[in-house]
Amino acid sequence: MKRREFMFAAGATAGALMLPRSAFAVEGRIDWYTNSDSNILDFWANTVKPAFEAANSGVTINLVDAGDGAGLISIAERAMAAKQTDTDPQADFFESADPHLPSGAIEAGIYANIKEAGLSNYSKVNPLAIESDYGLPYRGSQVLLAYDSTKLSAADAPKNWDDLVAWIKANPGQFIYNRPDKGGSGGNFVRRAIHQANGLDPSLFTVDNYSEELGNETLGKAWDILADIAPALYDGGAYSSGNTQSIQLLAQGVVTMVPVWSDQVLQAIDQGVLPPDTGLVQLQDLALCGGFSRAVVIENGVNRDAALKLADFILSEEIQSAILTELGGFPGVSWDYVSPELRERFADIVPTTIPTFPGGDWEAAINDGWYRNVAPNVDRNA
């Protein structure tokens, strides 16, 4: 190559690289956005992207971090505007989004109806996780109980709420949960007590039915339950200040059992923070709350079909197993479609139900009420 040609080629390449990267959508390049933590982005970059690109030659994924939920919503709003003017939305796939946001997005037709899209793996999706035809639950996380198996055998581990309370009272100082506003593991333990106090019926609580009267009545009974077990908790009623601190206390052998997020505890076991024989158990009368991340495909994106192929791909056994083993998350598919060996390994955490609890006003009421009624331990010496 002559010097002049080289200079020209180098200049053209450099110029092309300097162009804004997402200036226009490219056929065969899925513009993918997320607002999740960096561990999710790493998982996609190191596991999903290479596997998908190897299986589908000619298609690439452009991984973009949209920052936060607001960032993702603004991209969805751009897609709505693009739909009206019949232009290119420059987005194909949201890793985790609520299809009900921004409001009117489904009616505007910017999200693909995944149920009707004819994905070969859609029938495998855990029916408990499906909330909308437009969101594809592909990974989840749920709160469960982790315990030190050297102090408590799997056979004696409590399997329902009453056994758990009996165990906590019989082993004072061996259980701790974190403050409900400082991390979901303690937060969902508190919500499980609320379910317990109200007939194990999660449907009693919806995002818009909070009223002070209903709140005082339903939550008040839960505060009684939690205040009742408080003297038997670690240090006579202490509460750790986050998910990690609970795991730390379990790891230091201070307590025997804590509520944990499934993905965090699996990661902690994987990294050696907790020993490999750490026991995991889910309550069988009503599980502790959890949540799913739902992938959304942009209907009017240039690469809609490729994005749907990607949606199908992340439901494959390969990726779903990797979500369990590498991400420490929950599979989005029913446990029947997870390899038998993994099913065996995670048998204790297989949920029969995945209850959820609404946010909004309920959340504020729980956060305030717990601190006022449970945390001060007013009845500690009474």
């Binding site: 506003d181 230091q252 052998g253 945390a375």
Partner: protein
């Protein structure tokens, strides 16, 4: 030697009285404006928002409801009490620990004091979140202290983690450098001659400390304490990670009320009340600075 220097008293560069004033004011204008914009104005606006509240019929009216709630609410008052207790306890312990260190550093010579000084300044360079986790590993349950005690057959300590003593220990450690430095600066005012003179007439160490040293550094003690008290009163990280869930200190309480309970009005009220307490310590500081300027 030139005799000129004896006659030439320092003269102002600009001798014209009329012109001198605006220049001086201009020099301080930028910081003053910044303070007004970023500190004074938010304070006024916060106070105004807590007493001038929206009413049911979309108007605004004077109301002290949030203050009345705070001062009639057992839970809020407990939080205020624990904050005052923590601050007072920290101030007391800081004085107890830092005064001997400062006295030692001032009145000893040689290499060892240099090492002691760098050790005393060290906490300044440790971020409090790291301090908090180190604290859990050392003084926490089954931490290093427990392991050491256990190895020589002694029982475990009653760990201060998640009790009100947790933040106290952390905050005292965190505030040692600033307190030592200010006290040390104050001890610079105490001349060796005055101490020697006192010892010549037969004063013992206790008497020297009480009659010669303490009167000279009273101001520094006040400044050191008001500085650390201001920081401790509104501290967040250490009480949040090391303290109990309830009662909580004002820092975590305000943050939680604002974000988790979603009640900005109440959070601002708590902030104004916290500010009210802090301003008292601030006034101590301003008074002692003004007194120093005057003499």
């Amino acid at each position: 030697m030139t005799p000129v220097s004896e006659t030439a008293a320092p003269e102002p560069l600009d001798q014209n009285e009329d012109h001198r004033r605006p220049y001086g004011l201009l020099l301080v204008a930028v910081p003053v404006l910044l303070v007004v914009w970023l500190v004074i104005w938010p304070i006024i606006s916060a106070i105004q928002r807590t007493v001038w509240q929206p009413t049911a019929d979309r108007g605004y009216a004077f109301s002290l409801d949030t203050y009345a709630f705070f001062f009639s609410d057992r839970y809020s008052l407990d939080n205020l009490t624990v904050t005052l207790w923590t601050t007072g306890m920290c101030a007391f312990l800081l004085l107890l620990i830092c005064l001997p260190i400062a006295l030692y550093l001032r009145f000893s010579t040689g290499k060892l004091p240099a090492y002691v000084q760098s050790l005393a300044i060290f906490p300044m360079f440790v971020p409090s979140i790291i301090l908090a986790y180190a604290f859990i590993r050392v003084l926490g349950p089954n931490g290093m202290v427990d392991i050491l005690l256990n190895s020589v057959g002694l029982p475990k300590i009653r760990t201060p983690y998640l009790t009100p003593w947790g933040p106290v220990i952390g905050l005292v450690w965190d505030n040692i450098p600033l307190t030592v430095l200010i006290l040390l600066a104050g001890l610079g005012n105490v001349s060796n001659q005055s101490i020697e003179a006192a010892r010549d007439v037969g004063a013992r160490w206790g008497q020297v400390l009480w009659h010669i040293i303490l009167p000279r550094i009273g101001n520094s003690i006040l400044v050191a304490l008001s500085f650390s008290v201001l920081g401790i009163f509104s501290s967040f990280t250490l009480p949040y990670v090391l303290g109990p869930a309830a009662p909580e200190m004002m820092g975590p309480f305000m943050q939680r009320t604002f974000r988790e309970v979603n009640d900005p009005q109440m959070a601002i009220t708590q902030a104004v009340i916290t500010f009210g307490f802090c301003i008292v310590f601030g006034l101590f500081y301003v008074r002692s600075v003004a007194k120093n300027q005057g003499t």
